[in-house]
Symmetry: C5
Subunit: 360 residues, 5 copies
């Protein structure tokens, strides 16, 4: 279960899953991205270098064609066409459409990240509120932990391709120990019922968790009676968070808007490369012919901006910039193990605490 690529992922690492190679790594990396703006990982340059090369080749080809293949009459015709096209660049509402799209996408992204469900709260709450002298306490905790992790896994399998690749079927989930044989059969039976689909499998596990909690309550295993309701709430929140993630992944920003803005940027790029005008002055003719900065820079800034928006729309893929759900899931497993080991642990209160800071 070791993650092969322990580098930082775009975005965030959830609760249990913060797994960078030590503290300094993060800090350096973090500082790096500000001190040197020429960092490569997840960078602007990495996003655009392929497009930049193609852009440059096309640009120079047009210049060469213009300079050496066209006579002066055809050059005049060419100039007429390019200046006609150039009008497009200025009339296109690229910036505001782009800003609207990217800010919508990032807002959605931030809000989904803020509401991504975690397994820590329900597990910690259950472990804390279960009486320690319960007959089958440990088995109960194990079962609860397994169900919570299973529910999380089934939810994120729906939206996250890498997770689907690791756990391609219910059998593989069973093999990984999250599912028992009779439970798998129940899940498969559910899928054959009306309205039963892969997307409703987490809800079946949610039912199991509710039943388990009710059983715990009825047997009087909760330390405080109200803990029953608190545990039910934690499971509800897990379900709701999962539903939000699925909704977000299915649709967040209208397809037509994404297409419109992508098309607009591509049109802008194509026009900007074709409409470049070869200046008559011998110095600027070289500049304008072989150094397309005034044409290319706006396009590539737009392009990178667009990319940021599109990455924010589809954060559960396997790109470098996407959220590393596999990593996060491993973190959830580790956290669950840690919390499980807390059940029944006693603490001794030192009779006197003579810490330095308490005496200061």
């Amino acid at each position: 279960m070791k993650n092969k690529h322990p580098k930082l992922n775009f975005g965030i690492e959830l609760d249990e899953s913060i797994q960078v190679d030590g503290v300094s790594a993060t800090a350096t990396k973090f500082g790096e991205s500000f001190r040197g703006i020429f960092r490569w990982q997840q960078s602007f340059f990495k996003l655009v270098w392929k497009q930049a090369i193609i852009y440059y080749i096309v640009y120079v080809s047009i210049t060469l064609f213009y300079s050496f293949a066209l006579d002066s009459g055809n050059q005049a015709n060419f100039d007429a066409i390019t200046s006609y096209l150039a009008r497009y660049t200025s009339s296109l509402p690229v910036v505001l459409l782009l800003g609207f799209f990217t800010s919508t996408a990032l807002n959605r992204w931030f809000s989904i990240m803020a509401s991504m469900p975690g397994t820590n709260r329900p597990i910690a709450l259950y472990v804390a509120s279960l009486k320690e002298d319960a007959a089958d306490g440990c088995a109960r905790v194990d079962l609860y932990i397994r169900y919570v992790l299973l529910m999380w896994l089934l939810t994120f399998r729906i939206v996250c391709k890498p997770l689907r690749k690791r756990y391609p079927s219910l059998l593989s989930i069973q093999a990984a120990g999250f599912l028992r044989d009779h439970e798998r059969l129940l899940l498969e039976k559910h899928k054959q019922q009306p309205g039963g689909r892969s997307k409703t499998l987490p809800l079946v596990v949610y039912d199991w968790l509710n039943i388990l909690l009710r059983d715990t309550c009825q047997k009087g295993y909760f330390t405080v009676a109200n803990d029953f309701g608190r545990n039910i709430d934690a499971i509800q929140a897990l379900k709701k968070g999962g539903g939000n993630v699925i909704r977000f992944a299915s649709k967040n920003v209208p397809v037509a808007l994404i297409q419109a803005v992508t098309l607009a940027i591509y049109c802008y790029g194509i026009v900007s490369v074709f409409s470049h005008q070869i200046e008559k002055h011998y110095l600027t003719s070289v500049l304008s012919g072989y150094f397309p900065l005034p044409y290319a820079l706006p396009f590539f800034f737009y392009y990178a901006w667009l990319k940021v928006g599109r990455i924010a729309i589809d954060p559960f893929g396997s790109d470098e910039d996407d959220i590393d759900i596999l990593n996060i899931f491993d973190g959830h497993i580790n956290g669950a193990m840690r919390l499980r080991n807390c059940y029944g642990v006693k603490i001794t209160i030192p009779s006197t605490d003579s810490s330095t800071f308490l005496l200061s």
Copy 2:
């Protein structure tokens, strides 16, 4: 109750109702919309193709009329008029007005989606908190489920035309099993009272739910006393969510603003098609006469942007992009059945749990 068109709807699928044909479908579809920007479903192109054809026909007609029907004097007059009109294009505050309108509409849409009420929480809570040895426990659960679904149905019938078409009257709701005879009479009686309208029917069912909860509490059927309050809250949230949906559907963005922005875009389109100037240069005269891209593209990007805003304003219709409420309601029914079957179910805690992952 099978949904005939299981394709993804614009927007979101609520809790229980996520009903796409399996997992991979979503993923592919989701990837598709980003890899190929030429997808057709819910696309930019589908939104604008009719307008684009009309636009092109008008555009070319004007060019033909100009080139073949007008002599050079009239052509000069025509040029004068078009250049006068063309001023309009640049002076019109289209972009910012449009951005303001669309972002307001999408914000409203996101917030209404986030607060759309579901039936899962109240039902799950009731099932979990009802004592299992209650004499009429099952009948009580059935009644509660039926009332919750009925309240949801009556609420969304107000705003959603397809749902009104499926359940055109209280009798048809009774025929579908959500209403009993004496209950229908009570609802009809309520409509004749002062202040009683179709819009207040869900409130009557809300009263029934409150009475049912109080009855359950007084008979001591709740496992924990505080569950009474928690169930009351869940019903309150359902009522509040329904009220928000109705308010949102009745009015969300001022009509005058919608009209202003729609008129501005249409004016922009009409002017852009009429004001096109035939260039004198023989090459660009062909381009400007028959390839209206510099005129048409901005308009169609604006138009698609406007459409996105207007779809966000009216999400409960029967368009392809609207929220499929019928589908969602079927999901709520299936979810309710699932939760109902959890009532009274016992769970056995395995004495030892030797899952792989617990030993890792």
Copy 3:
């Protein structure tokens, strides 16, 4: 208490008060506003038609004066002045100032609408949590309902002129049955005390509600002990919501900003009408002289946009677009009556429920 004008108001209808003439009306109206952009009610056209006529008359007068009263020398002078003024139009930061103002105003409007207090929650909670065998249960419920409605009424009287017109004094409120004689005297006494004003009257009723709740708690009339706290919270929320409404109505967007943006739009309009230049070409001279679209359209789009913002700032008036508080209050009364009739009602659980949908 029948509302004479049952048309939809700009904005929202709160909880109990949704009172449109049936369901289809809303839907049609709603659809209308999108299908036909030429609807009149609350429309763009209704907002601007008077200004448009004045604008046109002034515009044509100037043209006529220019064409027939000025000789060519004076015409040149006139042209010089108008072209000097025309600079103003382009230099004025109208769009962004306007967008800033309107989006601030609408955001405030949405947030106040979301936090407008309702009477349903406190009343429903009290009715649900009061023991049914309480000696004076019904009288207690009646008193509670009356106080809640009175507190809502006194709060909204502060901000809403139509409500003040219907209930001009405490005596008229007493005549309507919301106040008893000794209570009115207490309120009037409070107004004479230091810090006592019309604005603090709802707080006195809030005190009464607190006292009533404490009395109910001490007599042991709440079914569950914790219900006391929940009822206190509901009253607190009502008070807080009322405070928010008063604060919003007193001040929401700085006066200086409203003045600046209004002045800017008016200046823009005046300059646009005076700075219109009569083209020399005989065709465009007619167009520019008598068809002021390129000058007028931007102004009227701005003007409508401004109006939307100003309506959002003052939503409690008696304009067509304002929130119909009278209507909402009637809805609250009806809802209170409905909830009151729930107190003590018994429900019978059918022994078997053989609804169609439960068997599916």
Copy 4:
């Protein structure tokens, strides 16, 4: 404790403190600001009139100097310089920087206003949850009220100059009755301890409130056991709200941003006054020389916009537009007295309630 200037303050009036001279005053004032855009109080005109006069004097002086002191050669030089400077006006990114700044400032302002702590909730909760037969009930309520008001006062003294002026020292607070002698000594002792400062004084009072609540709980004076937690929460909220206010006042928008935007606007103004070009046409030379509207209007709209942002950043001062904290504090005192008088008050439930509206 009567407020000398009972006019409306910019911003909001908090809970208890709404103190306008009666209802109609507000309404009129409110309406006024919309009907007449020429109102003076807190107006655009009041914000800019001084600057406008200076602007006009400088502007006309330059014109006079240009017309009468310079010969035609120097006039040409002058024209060259002004046209060079005029470029600045168009290249400066004034509008967007300004919009960004003002919207950030107003958002912060709205959010701080929404989270400003009030004394009503903790006091009302304590009064409502304290048993009426507690031996020292009244003294306990008095002490609690005094501590809550003291904590509020000590918090707002940190940020609000007028409050510091009214209560310049702990002795003056003691003189006003909010502090007793031994308490003042404790506070002064705290200030000498490490980490003890004026800013931590409210935290000491917060500790007293916690101790008082624990004492009330241990003596069994709360009607319902859970009320202890609810009261603790109310005090926590008061502390948190106070912390937010202090944080907001210390720093909210980065100083560099405020300076940048202020400098940009001032530069814009200076350039606009110096770069005005005297037109050659005899009519427009008068216009451009003595009627600087096209130059001045944009500047003054920017300037008013800037002012709105800066007022929003520093709302606790003593300007006309600032929040009248003195007034609000008086309101809190009055409200506390009102709530105190509720303790122990009995209510009689009328045996029958025959109000008109209940029979309708």
Copy 5:
């Protein structure tokens, strides 16, 4: 533990840590920043003065080179190149990209500041809810306080370099008294386990806190049973807040966006300095050659704006404008000591309270 630099930090001071040199200092400082826009601390000028000097030197060097080293032919060439480059300045989408970036960064900053975890609530809650006659009450409180502070410290060590410098290792934390020997060994053991890293250390302390709370509950030391759940929640909130801070510090705004906007601004600056055109008129040639305001001002306003955004992205460093975490931590320690001393303190209710304000 005295903070050497007690000056105000950019941003906010959290709960316990407000440590300015008295009240008036803040007020003056606060006022200062508005009255004088020429303040130096954290100012616009301090942000840009180095860049401004370099900019001016380069600018003047180019002018001197142009004026004295180039003949008129080369000057013409130079003019051609600069006018070609100057196009870049106008075509670059600097403003909107910058506005988008900065507003995203500031929004994130405000939201992280609002959710920064504090130690006050968990400690105050524990102290308030612990029975005073608990056998080992004081030791228990001491232990709890130590764990809460330790968890806070371990969390912020991950993101904050100055804190890592003060406490470079677990041993140094132990030396400071926050950690005991056997606890340090447990933490070190955890780091060797799979999934154990520096980032998961706070979670181990979180487990200890949970165990301690359960122990307190089982021994019946909570005054009210429900306090157990409330304390668990407070610890959960601390953990969640810490997770948010770590997530925020690891990644908040995509690197590519930061690079794009930084590059765009730098390009803008370089082009603006190189593309400056020497006017031909002898007066303006001096102005344009040696007074680069029209070129430099927009750049420096952009630059300061950019800086504000970048400071907001990395708030935990050791710059003058960053949040002073060391200071805040000292405040938390002081606050913890203060709360600890509240445990077991008795309060005497004065039999009569004759405060002035109560008699008013």
